[in-house]
Amino acid sequence: MPDYLHALEQQSIHVIREAHARLKPLAMLWSLGKDSNTMLWLVRKAFLGRVPFPVMLLDTGNEFPEVYEFRDRLLAEWGLDYVNAACPPIEATDATLPPAARAAARKTLGLKAIIAERGFRGILLGIRRDEQLIRGKERVFSPRRPDGSWDFRNQPAEFWDHYQTDFPADVHVRVHPLLAWTELDIWRYVERERIPVCELYFARGGKRYRSLGESDITFPIESDAATIPEIIAELERTRQSERAGRAMDHEREDTFERLRAAGYM
């Protein structure tokens, strides 16, 4: 009997293949975290080892140095078609947002700019429902208006897995193959498949990063988990939320909703 991780994996591969078949040109956001590395691994499984579209980093210049080193290592090993999408400065973001949210909003602007420049119809993103309540409401194939914004009050119906992939020419589609996964599923899968992940996830001196964002708005948690089995054991016990170390989530009740409605990932 195939196990649960196998079922999740196959469901995601089906979504990735559907996006590739129907949304051209397609690209994938590669934030270099555990989720997008898992997604990249699933892409390689879907296409028998190849990655048949560009992988993009929305680069604020503020990633941790370890993250950039990790990127350079994988680029050399996996032969990826890599796009470094530079994000506009913080002055270009919505000034009514709280400070950490403005830092995050730079990525929204970077994404809009690269979509406009390259004409992408589909973008694969590694977000999950269990990360954040607003992401819990997402569709697997989520259309975005030309300005990148998300009409969350009127999302298309998604029945069974007969995904809608036909949209007007000025709409792009955010595709979320990992929506059904949880943080624990990701780590169990990373362990099973031996997927490379950045060293910052592992504890050093009693601290580790549970979620990786910009170095200026992301904080480590107290932890002694220095291996994947230890991380899994920690997550089975913890009642802390995954994004506790992400400053932008905690500024105001509706910050994340505003960010996402405007086109954040």
Binding site: M1, P2, K45, F159
Partner: protein
């Protein structure tokens, strides 16, 4: 260690009966809320001046918390002591039906939440009906807000009886009916706080006892082709197995083309190629021969291949604000397959309050209906009842999803078995020409094809017409069930395929009579448009005259000269046209004779005039 897949469970029920609150409280009782969440909820509730509102755990949108209503579905993992669940919280409000259906379509089981003090409103029934339509068989009922009547047994029993009766009419027997209070947290994890009269399970115990989802591996193979890749020198067919199993060496047939090929390799990365794949797996198939296969083709084995038909019935839910009318053109999506379809007929609407089928000219948003759909060409379909994964579809109008439904093609024949008209034969040239025959007989040969329900008057008209034509000097002959079924078609029964073959042979025989110069009259129900079209194609252009002998079901049933309708109604005759087998009305008949409006003599006069105008030289 292998982990069992969590059971996917949808919460359904009327708006305000407390679905989100129940789930929020359940997460709290099971100690699954993140640290500080309960305090955060208390703060959110205080800001809005309401008592602690557990639904805020899941209602992620600001607007949902402000209105205390769920707008869109969300999913959470629920871990009970002995089992894991994915719980889909779907909105109960009528306006948000599409979100509810979207959520429910992913589930294997359902928890129907009811307010102990409210009645079984239409919306509850609608949800229950939709759950059944979507194929969800395992249903649990939670009767919520038990704190309001002070946990009174009588209140619970009254509500339980009412919902049991309502569900029975839909054909659902709930696995358990559990009294709970989300506000007090009563009978969620443990029965503890419940009064002594209640001896049933706690909600968690009832959830843990739900049956596991049945695997589709035992069903026949279906792999809709999703894409075709080039991988080195090889062409790879990409597709997910919706059901069944596929192994290297299997001979596959692709529908609708009917092309065949053998599985040479099942590629995989990383690691070696696979020997076999099964339901749920994404296959990378290399065939043993180059074959034209494209996205949307369905791979199966030869045995248990999908049905090929252009027309089928479907039960649909309609979501668009623009009502559905017959003749509407839509796009039907079945997985990677898309087909243009026309709504040939609205068979009936289901009234969810009474669950009775009712005649309807249009179908409005939120309504459920049985319709007949016609594709522009043959497509491969499965009956939902037998093959759920490939028997359901979505309806789109341009970029908008307007509905969805399930296929019931059981009343229509499979075109896979139909022989092509012999392609390799060269017809002999007759030395007697068509014109010579027409001048000898004084009229051209023709087929007068009478179609209509049983007891509409076809045979009576055919015999009267034959008498009058013969007396008027015509060479004429009637083919009807009596002279054909006993000889030429003695080997055929009454299955859709046999009925199709029966009509095919009648069509061919009638064509020979017409070619011989006769006016050949046929009197068969011939319920399918496709069969009549094929009969028309067998005859020289202009010499096939389709006559609709019009009388509606009620009139025919009232006549019932042979007692056939009565026997069909009593279940003694199966597959009887008009009762449990479809009749497709002719869309553009050459003549209509209405036997409800006119007597037989008047109808025959009309026919004589028609034949003379079309055939006399």
């Amino acid at each position: 260690m292998e982990r069992a897949a969590p059971l996917v469970l949808v919460l359904a029920g009327h708006v305000d009966h407390g679905k989100s609150s129940l789930l929020g409280r359940l997460l709290h009782e099971l100690d699954l809320l993140p640290a500080g969440k309960a305090e955060e909820l208390a703060a959110m509730s205080t800001r809005r001046g309401v008592p602690l509102e557990w639904s805020f755990v899941l209602d992620g949108f600001q607007a949902e918390r402000d209105q205390a209503i769920t707008l869109d579905t969300t999913r959470v993992r629920l871990k009970t002591p002995n089992r894991e669940f994915v719980v889909i919280d779907a909105p109960g409000h009528k306006e948000l039906l599409k979100n509810m259906i979207g959520g429910a379509s992913a589930a294997a089981a359902a928890l129907l939440v009811l307010d102990v003090q409210a009645g079984s409103e239409e919306q509850t029934l609608r949800h229950a009906y939709l759950l059944k339509l979507l194929g969800i068989r395992a249903l649990l009922v939670a009767i919520n807000k038990m704190d309001l009547p002070g946990y009174a047994e009588a209140a619970f029993e009254a509500r339980a009886r009412e919902v049991t009766a309502a569900l029975a009419r839909i054909g659902i027997e709930p696995i358990a009916i559990v009294p709970v209070s989300a506000r007090d947290g009563a009978n969620l994890r443990e029965r503890g706080a419940m009064p002594g009269w209640y001896r049933g399970p706690s909600l968690v115990a009832a959830l843990e006892a739900l049956p596991a989802a049945t695997p589709d591996r035992v069903l026949p193979l279906r792999m809709p082709v999703q894409d075709v890749y080039r991988h080195g020198e090889r062409r790879v067919l990409a597709g997910r197995l919706d059901s069944g199993r596929m192994a290297v060496g299997d001979e596959l047939v692709f529908s609708p083309s009917g092309r065949t090929g053998k599985v040479a390799e099942l590629l995989s990365w990383p690691g070696p190629a696979q020997d076999a794949v099964e339901a749920g797996d994404n296959a990378s198939v290399v065939l043993d021969r180059p074959l034209v296969v494209e996205r949307g083709d369905v791979a199966s084995h030869h045995e248990h291949a999908p049905k090929l038909t252009a027309v089928f019935d479907a039960e649909i839910f309609w979501l668009s604000a623009t009502p559905l009318v017959p003749g509407r053109e839509l796009t039907m999506q079945l997985g990677p397959r898309a087909a243009a379809v026309r709504v040939q007929a609205i068979r009936h609407r289901i009234d969810v309050a009474t669950l009775a089928p009712e005649l309807a000219g249009t179908i409005a948003a939120g309504e459920i209906a049985s319709v007949t759909l016609r594709a522009h060409e043959l497509i491969a379909v499965d009956d939902f009842a037998a093959m759920p994964a490939t028997g359901r579809f979505v309806l789109r109008d341009a970029y908008v999803t307007v509905g969805g439904g399930i296929v019931d093609a059981s009343g229509y024949p499979d075109h896979r078995a139909m022989p092509d008209r012999a392609r390799n034969l060269t017809p002999m040239r007759h030395q007697v020409t068509e014109t010579e025959r027409a001048s000898r007989f004084g009229h051209a040969g023709a087929v007068i094809w009478l179609t209509g329900l049983s007891a509409s008057g076809k045979s009576t008209l055919a015999m009267a017409l034959e008498r009058r034509l013969f007396d008027g000097g015509y060479a004429t002959f009637v083919l009807d069930g009596d002279n054909v079924r006993r000889g030429l078609n003695a080997n055929l029964g009454f299955s859709p395929e046999d009925r199709q073959e029966n009509i095919r042979r009648v069509g061919e025989a009638a064509a020979l009579f017409a070619e011989a110069g006769f006016v050949c009259i046929t009197a068969f129900i011939s319920p399918y448009c496709d069969d009549r079209r094929r009969a028309r194609a067998a005859v020289a252009k202009g010499h096939f005259l389709e006559v609709y002998v019009k009388a509606d079901l009620a009139a025919c049933e009232a006549r019932d000269p042979k007692g056939l309708y009565r026997r069909a109604r009593e279940g003694e005759l199966k597959g009887f046209t008009g009762i449990d087998s479809p009749y497709e009305e002719p869309e553009a008949p050459d003549l209509i004779v209405d036997t409800m409006q006119e007597n037989i003599a008047a109808c025959v006069d009309k026919l004589i005039e028609f034949v003379a105008a079309r055939c006399r030289v």
